[in-house]
Symmetry: C2
Subunit: 440 residues, 2 copies
């Protein structure tokens, strides 16, 4: 009668069990690096995105006017929100600020495999350090998270690039406006073209670069330069301090990844650009090395200017956002997606009027930390046992009127089907985790 | 430069630490009862609420038209969504279905203490059982959650009522239309008046009942009947099977709460009605017994008709929703709100060019499950130590160039300030949790 909206997902318990396990692993990994959880609103003022995130994201915004006449948007990403939060507290926060959170975001996109209108991201950010160690820690966290999820070295790679190498190179190509061969390049558009380069034909890529102001010769030269992955050649070609310093920064980050134990996952890949406008330094994307997951699994990078542009003190920043859908594709491809099975420690089964004793036993088992279900539907033996099986109960405690008359309950191990009677006063008694084997 | 929206909240790490601890306790409690986590969308079709939830909630909806022309709403509550999910899977789901989830909801309300436009709820529901054990388990879960949070018996009470007692009583007052004294009563409006009765003056309450169709004499009589809490008198007054059966159901639920160990938290309170229209049976609200938290902390009840009205098979249901803001007020009042402090197991401090060793030690400690931070900002000894103090590091491992030349690092216990040197090859070595005390 009511349908779910397209691009939105319902997660039933089995699927959610697996998702929760993955999420717990990712968040525990972030926690061990000292990233601290923050909580953030689902709605923000629309203009926060219009100003900073780039037109692509704005086209996809869920925006509306609230009952108070405010132009608001469902948050399409976390970065502007945490930037706002850093600005709001100003100098109160001790640096580096290391934050993590997992929550849904919304974009009105074309729905396809691994892409939904409501998606979940774990965002991990460091604010207040411009040093390469911060970039390296973000990469190390991301690699650790994947490794802890069960992925092996060689199953994923981080393609690492640097926004200011791209920007500096484009600046050099444009010239300083003092020569007749100078051209007018829209750097944002050109970088967006680079971001699309792997997804389009070469000619289309050149057209996009041409639209951004490059001549076709320049577009080919630019493409050759990037695909050479030759940093020295880039520095020489550009001949500017800007490119030299960007290359040096990229090299220092790669050096730091060596010490941080993540260098082996990193590949230099200058065609990696990221779609969002606010990146300033190192950017990277995670890919499935088998290529079976064809798009980037997730990505991140450095955005040193965003907080100042939000009215805060100059605060360098770097982060990564792991999206749920592509991460699931990668895990499934690698056979690392968890089993989707419910777990139940005990089912306490009632036969006849034994609710008081069954409820007491359920309480005692729960107080020992176990997952315990009992009859809520006044059902018979068979259908209770069948339900216990459905929820994968490990042990069934049968509380029957006749057994109780003898002061006993029956403990049944579901895997083997074996069972034995136990004095009701001794169940659970001294046992932290009473099982069939404890009573035979 | 950009401001947060009114009624929305940013949670910084210290506050979030406490919130997460509370949430973990509530969810772990639900988990031990075998409630299974589900994940649900933030947007639904607007008409799902217009049809079923009552006008109050609809006035407060964040609604808009999406880019595909759909009328959508930010979910103001979970119940319609989980009802939709139960209908969608139909007979596939084995009963009883026991679900839990925690997530934000949105209502455009007047912002005040304990009430925000974005708020978080843990929803716990049982679908597929009409038996009193299901109601009792919901109450038992709620009491357990509060007890596990550190509240004591007597610090909170569940005021328990029954919608069909109210409905049946009003039906009896209206008469069957065959007599001149019969009146036309809008039962929904009258029940909403009962829901407001504790918050308004008596005269205003009678006005509301009068607006719903009762005469002023009937309003007073109705009020007297409810406040007497005399179930036998109610049955006698109404003289209908409907009220008799509702009273009998309420008594059976209260009996079940006895076995489920939650009877001592329950008070019969017929003036408790709950605001939402879809309730059909037992309803309850949790109150701070000191009265310091003046409004209901949370509430729940039985809604046996909702799923059928959504086009599903007749599926009785009962649930509770714990809201974050009032729960925090109650916990704070009772001194049970957790300390808001960051915890860090180790800070690995670098002096000079020791990044490779420091990073190796940090990795080794993290792989043992500890929370470990290290320098990301190329800072000196003093400012690193001060940062370690800010994040409450328990142990600082100082990796200095000079110490390293002797093959040693220094282990410093922050609480006492005591420190000792340790061979770098033995740190962490065999130790799962190496501390100062292990090396002296």
């Amino acid at each position: 009668m009511y349908d779910r909206l397209k691009g939105f997902r319902d997660f039933y318990p089995e699927e959610m069990t697996a998702r929760r396990e993955v999420l717990d692993t990712v968040e525990a990994t972030a926690g061990r690096y000292g990233f601290r959880e923050v909580g953030t609103p689902a709605l923000e003022r629309t203009r926060m995105y219009v100003d900073k995130s780039g037109e692509e994201i704005v086209d996809e915004l869920y925006t509306f006017e609230d009952k108070g006449g405010r132009d608001v948007a469902l948050t399409p990403e976390l970065t502007p929100t945490v930037a706002r939060m850093v600005v709001a507290k100003g100098q109160e926060l001790s640096k580096p600020i290391k934050w993590v959170s997992t929550r849904p975001f919304w974009r009105y996109e074309q729905v396809q495999q691994g892409r939904f209108r409501e998606f979940y991201q774990t965002n991990v950010d460091v604010f207040g350090s411009a040093e390469p160690e911060a970039d390296a820690e973000i990469l190390a966290f991301a690699a650790d998270a994947l490794t802890n999820l069960g992925l092996s070295e060689g199953e994923f790679e981080f393609r690492v690039s640097h926004r200011d190498i791209l920007g500096g190179l484009l600046e050099s190509m444009a010239g300083d406006g003092g020569s007749e061969t100078d051209v007018d390049i829209d750097v944002r558009d050109a970088i967006r073209a680079v971001d699309k380069s792997a997804k389009v034909e070469r000619n289309e890529y050149y057209d996009l670069l041409h639209d951004a102001g490059l001549s076709y010769d320049q577009a080919r030269e630019f493409d050759d330069l990037l695909s050479s992955q030759d940093l020295d050649a880039l520095v020489e070609f550009a001949g500017t301090d800007r490119v030299e310093s960007a290359v040096s920064n990229l090299r220092r980050v790669l050096d730091a990844t060596e010490d941080f134990g993540v260098r082996e996952h990193c590949t230099l890949s200058l065609e990696t650009a990221r779609g969002l406008d606010y990146y300033t330094g190192v950017v990277f994307e995670c890919f499935d090395t088998t290529g079976e997951v064809s798009r980037a699994v997730f990505g991140g990078g450095r955005y040193d200017d965003l907080i100042e542009s939000f009215g805060g003190q100059s605060t360098p920043a770097v982060g990564v956002a792991l999206g749920d859908a592509t991460l699931q594709l990668l895990c499934e491809r690698a056979g690392a997606w968890p089993d989707e099975e419910l777990a139940t420690d005990y089912y306490v089964l009632t036969v006849g009027d034994t609710r008081d004793v069954a409820a007491r036993i359920a309480r005692d088992l729960r107080s020992r930390g176990h997952v315990v279900e009992t009859d809520l539907s006044d059902r018979g033996f068979g259908s209770q046992l069948s339900y216990a099986d459905t929820v994968n109960a490990e042990t069934v405690v049968i509380v029957g009127e006749q057994d109780l008359a003898n002061g006993e309950v029956t403990v049944k191990e579901m895997a083997s089907g074996e069972q034995t009677t136990v004095p009701v006063d001794e169940f659970p008694g001294e046992h932290d985790e009473p099982r069939y084997g404890d009573f035979v």
